[in-house]
Symmetry: C2
Subunit: 237 residues, 2 copies
């Protein structure tokens, strides 16, 4: 928690913020070992960041006196990430990684090689997803929550969502064996599509290429989804 | 386990390999759902890779008949990674990530902001480290084990190891606030130094720069060590 992310409802009108949830209080106590008078970095969800002084700390609440907040959050990556739904534990970590890296638009997609049971995981509950996004923001000192869309059908994605997503965006499908290596340091608005463990099936790749995406590879090594996504984002942008 | 990594002692002289450990047997059964006659990708630790046919499978053992092995493992990254010792769970995952990415030389280093207790973790036992390296190789279809060195003092590292490590290598210290952005797509032999959560202290950075390293940053976002290391390796090479 390099940033204490405040919800607008944590704020009063006198420049104070009060947090009462166990997770942030425990973090303040155990990790920050915060004491009265400490100045910590805070940010308001969707808004600005700055410093705040801890003016009250009990087992039930922490109150901060906020400086006028003036710092803008770091820039977002120009990417909409379409990720075949990973298995639940991998999903949790991947959401944290990509949020920390600055991704703001995420679609979780069903593809042939996604196990259907993954869609039943409690990790997909909105409050669980929200939790991982918040951890990513707190890690990277950002206040802008990503939006996450769940798309349970590949064909509806292809027919109903993909054409709009590709308008004004360069579509890149990460897939082993494609002739083009992952481009480096681009600034294009990008739609990045990443398959599941085991990859997209050939038909899916064909359809994505037909729709106007470019295929690309990340080298001969097979990486876990969480490693691959971080590696792709870091190389691309 | 995209590769079944065989130890030379798993092999007989008739082109068969026999595995008996619970981990690989469980993986064959539960993840590969392997059946007699299946052809799987195998590799011999430190050697070549190829295909093998499963010819016997019981609860106690699996026997493979190996094709003549002819595939060389994927190329290594030209990097020696010096990593301030992360907390134990982060270490485990980071070792897997960097091994999968192709790092072959790793030094785990004590720095001021590394908690001393981390050095007592069972994750540092040679057999535990070995386990994570093997998982990384199995993931990325590689057979060349990285070497891992533990260096519990920063000053001895600086005085006794660093000069030799920098001979023939470009030293790069990842540190927030450095003026140079992380270079992209280099092919230099590189010594990459990455600090702990909280970073190197200014004195450490100064000493590393004095010794001939270049400082560089990865942007304004604060990343977890495992995310940062993957992002650095993918952007650099």
């Amino acid at each position: 928690m390099n940033l204490i992310l405040l919800h607008p409802s944590d704020l009063d009108h006198q420049g104070h913020a009060c947090i009462t949830d166990a997770r942030r209080l425990a973090h303040l106590r155990d990790i920050h070992r915060a004491a009265l008078g400490d100045r910590l970095t805070v940010g308001v969800q969707g808004g600005l960041m700055g410093k705040a002084q801890l003016v009250e700390l009990t087992t039930e609440l922490a109150v901060f006196a906020l400086d006028p907040l003036a710092d803008v959050p770091p820039p977002a990556l120009p990417v909409h990430l379409v990720l075949a739904l990973p298995r639940p534990r991998m999903l949790a970590r991947t959401l944290e990684h990509v949020t920390a890296l600055g991704v703001k638009e995420i679609t979780l997609l069903h593809t042939k090689r996604v196990e259907k049971s993954y869609w039943q995981s409690p990790e997909l509950l909105p409050e669980k997803i929200h939790q991982h996004l918040v951890l990513g923001l707190e890690q990277s000192r950002d206040t802008q929550l990503p939006s996450v869309t769940l798309t349970k059908g590949f064909r509806p994605f292809l027919e109903e969502q993909l054409p709009a997503l590709l308008r004004g965006r360069r579509g890149l499908v990460a897939h082993p064996g494609m002739p083009m290596a992952c481009p480096r340091g681009i600034s294009d608005n990008t739609l990045l599509l990443v398959g599941p463990e085991g990859g997209f099936i050939p038909w899916e790749v064909e359809k994505l290429l037909d729709a106007g995406c470019e295929g690309m590879h990340l080298g001969p090594r097979i990486l876990r989804v969480e490693t691959a996504v971080t590696a792709l984002l870091s190389r691309l942008f």
